[in-house]
Amino acid sequence: MNAVMEASTYHYLCQILIAEFDIDAEAMRPDAQLGDELGLDSIDAVDLLVHLRETTGHEIARERFKAVRTLQDIVNIIDSENIPLEQALST
């Protein structure tokens, strides 16, 4: 069950990053480095947190996000906080 949930969180996260942040779909891997490989910077991090807050109502602490290095790190935070990521997909 847990594995399925994680897989879908990862899937949703990729969709958000592709749709909202124009990240190259082929570069997506759970262990992809956010900065070097996906080209995400600190402004994207702020925008992502704001986007998640506005669409799901969940606030992720900035301190937790500072240690994030890979997509899987974000997935772990989202799962541990039970954030319904599907709500964050743009319709």
């Binding site: 749709a19 909202e20 942040f21 910077d41 600190s42 402004i43 994207d44």
Partner: protein
């Protein structure tokens, strides 16, 4: 005296003058030591006497910040020109006065310790994005607090608050490379400045600072005196209207992101 009036040519670039040579270097070493004594004394007086008076006498925060910024600009102008008596000759290229009339996000490359001092003098009343550690630095804390500058160590607050202040019609000074770099390093521009301009619909005013010979860079002690008197040149370039990089007035996040990268690339060409 306004900055543009004092834009006089004391020495032609490349020409040797009395501030070069062995005695010139000795004089400039003495003057540097004097300058770096005058600045902290002035800053401490500001913090211990002037700032508390402002807090006591002017209760309206906006008005107090306006007065504090004007004072900071005057003090920085005095200090920068005081240094310039022997240490540098200073020229402005481009239209300063015309650009003071309309608000802008003023973006410059960052070479020396006194870049911000110079720009805060030239743009009185401007807001400034300042290193967060200055809020705990005994020399700088009074000035940055009284003037209500923006600290750079909280991304989300910086982003929203800077957009709010720029949308309100204020000008702001920002160094898109974040900090100075060491002699052996290449500066990298971050796209924050472009994002702020795009979100607040304010022009970017790029300013290229040229310093030769290079001095007061990061990691460079003040006591290393350049062999020649420094040419400190400020090039005020043409404004960049962020809307020109957008196809629509209501861009998606993707479009805004793309435009911010394009503007940052343009700034890289202009400033570095």
């Amino acid at each position: 005296m306004t900055p543009s009036e004092q834009n006089s040519i004391r020495t032609k670039p490349g020409q040797r003058n009395a501030f070069d040579g062995v005695w010139g270097i000795r004089l400039r070493r003495f003057w540097t030591a004097l300058s770096f004594t005058v600045f902290p004394i002035g800053a401490l007086l500001f913090g211990l006497v002037y700032a508390p008076l402002l807090w006591l006498l002017i209760w309206n925060r906006e008005r107090r910040q306006r007065i504090a910024r004007a004072s900071v600009s005057k003090l920085f102008g005095f200090f920068f020109r005081f240094m310039g008596v022997t240490l540098h000759d200073f020229h402005i290229f481009g239209d300063l006065v015309g650009n003071l009339e309309r608000p802008a996000l003023i973006v410059a490359n960052h070479i020396t310790l006194v870049d911000a001092v110079c720009l805060m003098w030239l743009f009185p009343g401007a807001d400034c994005v300042v290193k967060g550690s200055h809020w705990r630095n005994p020399i700088m804390m009074a000035a940055v607090r009284a003037a209500g500058y923006l600290r750079n160590d909280d991304d989300e607050h910086l982003l929203t608050e800077a957009v709010r202040r720029l949308t309100d019609g204020g000008s702001m000074v920002l160094f898109p490379q974040g900090t100075r770099v060491r002699a052996e390093e290449q500066p990298e521009l971050k796209r924050g400045a472009a994002v702020l301009a795009l979100r607040s619909h304010v022009d970017l005013l790029p300013i290229r600072i040229e310093v030769s010979p290079l001095t007061l860079r990061k990691g460079e002690p003040w006591s290393s005196i350049p062999e020649r008197r420094v040419h400190f040149h400020i090039h005020i370039l043409d404004r960049i209207a962020p809307a020109e990089y957008l196809a629509s007035s209501n861009p998606s996040r993707r479009e805004e992101r793309e435009a911010s990268h394009a503007i940052t690339e343009r700034l890289r060409e202009l400033l570095l």
